[in-house]
Structure formats: C-alpha cells, structure tokens
Amino acid sequence: MSLLCERCQQAKATVHITDTIPKKRERHLCEDCAEKEGVIIKQPHPTSNEILQQFLKHKTGLGTIEDMTCSRCGMTFREFQTKGQLGCPHDYEAFEKVLMPLIERAHEGSTQHIGKVPATAGETIRKQSGLMRLRRELQDAVEQEDYEVAARVRDQIQTLESG
C-alpha cells in the first residue's frame, strides 16, 4: 500500500524529504502539497511526442530520421539501423546529423581523425592532419614533462605552418 500525503491525506505521497532543521524528521508529501510548501517547483511536462517532434525538427528539418535517404546508394537511415552497416562512403555525409552523435559515443567522445592520411588524399589534408597530430604529440610531451621531445615537435609544427 502506498503512503498518503501527510498534509492533505488524500493524494499519494511521491515526494519524500528529510528535514534536518530544526530537528531530523522525515516528511512524505504529494506533488501539489510539496509545491504549496515550496519544496518543489512543478513544471509543465511536455508530452513525449512533443519532445520527439522538436528533436526531429531540430535534427533533420524535414520528414523523420528513419526516412533520410542517401542520394548515392539509396540506403535509408532505417536500413542502416537494421543492418548495422552503411551503404556507401557518402552515407557519412547524408546521415551526418544523426550519425555523428553515434560516432562520438563509439569513440570516447572523438569526432576528428588524427591518424594516418593516405598518399592520395592530397597535400592540404595531409598537412592539416599532420599539424593536428603534432599538436597532440606536443601536448602529450608537455604533460609528461619531456621537454626535449616537446621542443622538437614545436619546431616541426613551425616548419609545417610556415611551409
């Protein structure tokens, strides 16, 4: 049997608090009474549908997430969710908004590649990634107080930046 509110003795007590001043005592109130006593502030609850709609509007701007389709391979986001595999490299762009949070979660919060760059990827990208990697190495070296390595990496960064 659930506890009734000690103030109105009518509604179910859902707010349980322990006062310590003036002396320790437990209190059990319903939401309405708790609000009247200033213990909690009630806020209007948006329906779950409203939340979902907001999310969809924000995330996609049109239609629903599941129906997002890649123009190259024709895969829908729904299909990806079922198969667990993307349809083509372009999907990363087509589903970017919904995919990025998943990628971030799968990779300890990271969304930026700092590893190897293939020779075919072009000089600019290579330089950018090289810089990113070096800055990370510099940070690591400073953290480990390896100033010899840090100085060397700093010089490499300067060369790459000026080149």
């Binding site: 190259r72 391979c73 024709g74 895969m75 198969k83 667990g84 595999q85 993307l86 349809g87 083509c88 490299p89 999907d91 990363y92 995919l99 998943l102 990628i103 799968a106 990779h107 300890e108 919060g109 990271s110 969304t111 930026q112 590649h113 700092i114 590893g115 190897k116 760059v117 293939p118 020779a119 075919t120 990827a121 990208i125 950018q128 990634s129 990697r133 990370r136």
Partner: protein
C-alpha cells in the same frame, strides 16, 4: 604454395616464440579499407561486388612487397579449406561462411594476409607470435602505403578512413593480442582483469574473436576506439602499458599457485595429461581446454614430456579442418572425436 602445404607447419600465430611468449600467444594488427566511389558491400550488387574484387585482386597481385602471397578465391575453395584458414587465423569465420565474390591473399609465412570483400572491401592483416606490435605495424603500414599508390581508398579529412561500420571509422585499425591466462582464471582474478580492460574501452573475447568463448584460457584483447587516436597511440597503449601489466599479473598468479604448494597444480596438469593420453573419444573443445594446464605446466617448469612447439602442433592439428586434412578426407563430427583421440594417444605414446 597451396593451402594443403599449410598443414605441414603450425602457422605463425602458434610458433610459440617472441616477446613475452609465456603469456602472449600472438599479436595481430588489422586495417579496414574501402575503395572510394564504390558502394560498401551491404548495398553492392553481384556485379559491383565482382568488380571491387577484381580491382583489389589486381592491386594486390601487382604490389611488389607482397612476397610469395597467393590469392584464394573463397567461392572456389572447398569448405574444409575455408575452415582451415579460420583455424590458422588468416580469415574470420564470417568470411569463411560468407557469400558472393570474396577472397584472401596471404604469404607462406602467414605473417601477412588480406581479406577481400569481407565486411569492408579490404582488410589488411599482420600476424606474429609473441608481443610484436611495432614490427607488425611497420609491415602493415608499408602494405597499406603501397596499395594506396594503386587504388584510392575512401577517406574523409574529418573522419579518416570510411568504413562500412561507423565503429571502425578513422584509422580503421584493430590491434588484437591473444593471451593465455590460465592462472588468472584459476585464482579467479580473470573477471577483475577483464573488467579493467573493458573500462579502458578494450574488447575482451575468446580465441576466434567476436562472440566466441574463452576456450582453453585464451583471451583476445582488442581496441574498440578508432577515431581521435593515432595508430601509434593505440599500439603504444598495448605494448607499453596494457599487455605488460596483464603479463605481470598472470606471472604473479602462476607464482602464487606454486607457492600454495605444487600438489594442486600438478594434479590439474597430470589429470589433463591422463585424459589426453588415454581418451577414446574427445571433442576439439575438450582438447583445447585440457591442453591449457599443460601449456601452463610447461611454462612453470612442472611438465616436460612435451615442449611448446609440440603442444601447439597438438592444439592446431586436432582442430576439425586440420584433422580432416591430416586424413585427407571429409569426416563427420562424431567420427572426428574418435580419430582425434587416436591421434592424441599415438602422439603421447610415442613420447614414453
């Protein structure tokens, strides 16, 4: 070289030498790559799949650094051969059981292998016994560079190498180390170690990777994060921090087993020996389970009837495909158990 010739050796991953080989069985590095401007395999139709296979096969066979590698068309390979390649850790089970145009290229020393049309268009693998990640990385990195000169891989400035599954995106690197941890299991510390590894975002699996049990006390540790870390950072974490630590735990656990008195350990070893040397029917799984205390016994200096190379041969040659290759015919599971027991009895009888 042919697939049949493989059965003459125990394969690279079971050579039993290398760094920390009393605990580390083998190391593996695998890179996931896909052709740019081609669909991933989940949406590629039969024709596209065959085209992708052709492009990759041409690039691989013309690459000057791939040594004496042979290319095996998986559609033409017989089921026992496919299973044999799984047992030798040259392909995944998924690849053996897959459908459509796909293949594997590997060198005769088995240190380099490439799967064509598995989950991604290309998986480049380096495999060595013991803890040898730096050497492996040099190898795999060079292979990847050479292939990148011939084919354009799907790559994005922000996300790195684009893969069929977003969990591999970025470097596409999977570093796996196979460990033999019998003492940690006996002292019941294995769960604690596994939990610590999982907290470090590592996957802990059985011998054949994804979804497999840790049979024979073999545990495979691999990284799960492929984005936001360089290949060297992932490798360093394994070879300088994670693996040496676990090796130390296992060695300490082995010492503590001995210090509690050797009767218990010896009993385990000799009971295992008793069954292996006398059973009339034995499964592959039971064989692997019983060879574990013997492997530990050899490393602890408490068992010397056989050495590690022989033990590894027993381990590999009693697996289903190897056993069938040895007999030169297809044998059903029930009969295999009898023939496996025969084989083990003969091998052990020859020792005494």
């Amino acid at each position: 070289m042919t697939i049949d010739e493989l059965t003459r050796t125990t394969g690279e991953w079971l050579r039993g030498v290398g760094n920390m080989s009393d605990v580390v069985v083998s190391s593996r590095i695998r890179l996931a790559r896909n052709l740019a401007d081609r669909p991933f395999l989940s949406t590629a139709d039969g024709t596209e799949r065959t085209e992708i296979y052709r492009i990759l096969a041409d690039a691989i066979t013309s690459a000057p650094i791939n040594g004496d590698a042979i290319l095996v068309d998986m559609q033409e390979a017989d089921p026992v051969d496919r299973e044999l390649l799984v047992e030798r850790h040259l392909i995944s089970r998924q690849h053996a059981e897959g459908k459509g145009s796909r293949g594997v290229s590997f060198t005769s020393d088995e240190t380099r292998a490439m799967m064509l049309n598995e989950e991604d268009h290309l998986r480049i693998q380096g495999l060595r016994c013991g803890l040898e990640l730096e050497a492996l990385w040099r190898d795999v990195n060079t292979l990847d560079d050479t292939l990148a000169e011939r084919i354009a891989f799907a790559f994005d400035k922000r996300l790195g190498f684009l893969t069929a599954c977003p969990t591999n995106v970025g470097t596409g690197i999977r570093v796996s180390v196979m460990l033999h941890l019998p003492a940690l299991r006996l002292t019941k510390e294995i769960e604690r170690v596994a939990r610590a590894a999982r907290d470090m975002h590592l996957a802990v699996r059985g011998m054949h990777g994804e979804g497999t049990e840790a049979i024979g006390d073999f545990y495979q540790l691999s990284n799960q994060t492929t984005l936001g870390k360089t290949e060297e950072q992932v490798i360093d974490a394994f070879s300088k921090a994670i693996i040496p630590k676990i090796v130390e735990y296992e060695r300490t656990a082995r010492d503590s087993l001995s210090s509690e008195g050797t009767a218990g350990v010896d009993d385990k070893i000799w009971r295992a020996y008793g069954t292996l040397a006398n059973a009339r029917s034995i499964s592959s799984e039971e064989t692997q389970t019983l060879l574990s205390p013997i492997r530990m016994g050899i490393h602890m200096g408490r068992f010397s009837l056989i050495d590690i190379p022989v033990l590894n041969e027993l381990l590999l040659h009693t697996q289903p495909a190897h056993l069938q290759k040895l007999h030169g015919k297809t044998i059903d599971e029930n009969e295999r158990d009898f023939l496996r027991a025969d084989y083990l009895r003969k091998r052990f009888a020859a020792l005494s």
